[in-house]
Amino acid sequence: MSGNDLLDEPAPGLDADAERALGEVDVLFFQIGDSEYGTDASSVLRIDRALPDDLTVRDLGLPHKGHRAIVFDTPEGEGHLKVDAVNGVRTIPLSGLRRMPVAAAAASYAVGVCLDEEAGRPVLLIDLAETLKTQGRH
C-alpha cells in the first residue's frame, strides 16, 4: 500500500460525510459598520437583540445601529458582541482559511482570514472569546 492509498481511504470508523467534515468548518459571517468578519460558528450560541451593555470592539469599527448581538460561549460565561447584521453561515473548506501572518502583528483576536471568493477580499476571522480578554470583560 502506498502513502497515497492511505490518504485516499477513510479513517476507520469514519464515513464519507464525517471525513469530509474534518476538512471543512462552518463560518458565521457578520457585519459591523461597513466591515464583514467571520467566526467559528461552533463558538456561537445564538443571535439575540443587543442590550446597552453588550460589547463593542472599537478596533473592529463602530456598528451603525448594532441592534443585534452575537452570543458566544466563554469559560467565564456568555459574551455578547454588538453587530449590525448576521450574513449567514457558510461551510468553508480548511484550504480556504489562512492563519494571520505574524508580520501583520494584528490584535490577538484576529486569528486568520478566510479567502472567500464571494466577498472579493479576505474576510478577517475573529476569535470571539479573545475579544473579551482584550477588552478586559466577559
Partner: protein, 154 residues
C-alpha cells in the same frame, strides 16, 4: 582597447507620493493591482491591511508611513509589488511602477550622513537630472526586518 564592463545592479523602480524608490530586483516577485485590502485591528500604522494573492495572505506596507514621509493613497491605478526577503513576504504600495533599471555601481552615491530613518534603510541614492528625478535605493531586507521588529515589540 576593449571597453571595460561597468558593474551594474538591477533595481525595480517605482514612485510613491513625491518620492522615487528602487528595490533590488531579486527582492521583487511580481506586481499586482491594489484591489480591496482588508484592514486589521491594532496593527502598526504602516500596515494598511492584508490582501489575498495566489492563496497567500500578504500584509501590505505603506512605505511613506514606515519612513515617516506622509502616507500613500490607494486609488484605481495604485499597484502593490510583492517583495520578499528570506521567508518574509509582503506587499508594498506603489503609485507608479517605473520599471526595472540597471544602474552602474559607480553612479550609486552613499545615503546622506546623519539622515533620518529613511536614510537608515537606504543602500544609496542615484541622482537624476533634477531634484525630483533622483532614486532612493532601498535596503529591502533591512526594511522588512525593521518592519517586523517594530510590529512585534509594540
Amino acid at each position: 582597447m576593449a571597453a571595460q564592463a561597468r558593474p551594474e545592479l538591477e533595481f525595480f523602480c517605482f514612485r510613491v507620493g513625491e518620492l522615487r524608490f528602487g528595490v533590488p530586483s531579486e527582492n521583487v516577485l511580481e506586481v499586482l493591482r491594489a484591489g480591496l485590502l482588508t484592514p486589521l485591528p491594532r496593527t502598526p500604522s504602516f500596515i494598511l491591511g492584508v490582501t489575498g494573492h495566489r492563496g497567500q495572505v500578504l500584509p501590505v506596507v505603506d512605505l511613506l508611513r514606515f519612513l515617516s514621509k506622509g502616507e500613500a493613497r490607494i486609488g484605481p491605478r495604485t499597484r502593490i509589488f510583492v517583495g520578499v526577503s528570506g521567508s518574509y513576504v509582503s506587499g508594498v504600495v506603489a503609485d507608479t511602477v517605473l520599471g526595472l533599471r540597471r544602474i552602474p555601481v559607480s553612479e550609486i552615491l552613499p545615503p546622506p550622513l546623519g539622515g533620518d530613518q529613511a536614510a537608515e534603510h537606504l543602500l544609496g541614492v542615484v541622482q537624476g537630472s533634477g531634484p525630483a528625478d533622483g532614486i532612493n535605493l532601498l535596503n529591502f531586507s533591512k526594511l522588512l526586518q525593521t518592519a517586523r521588529q517594530r510590529a512585534v515589540v509594540r
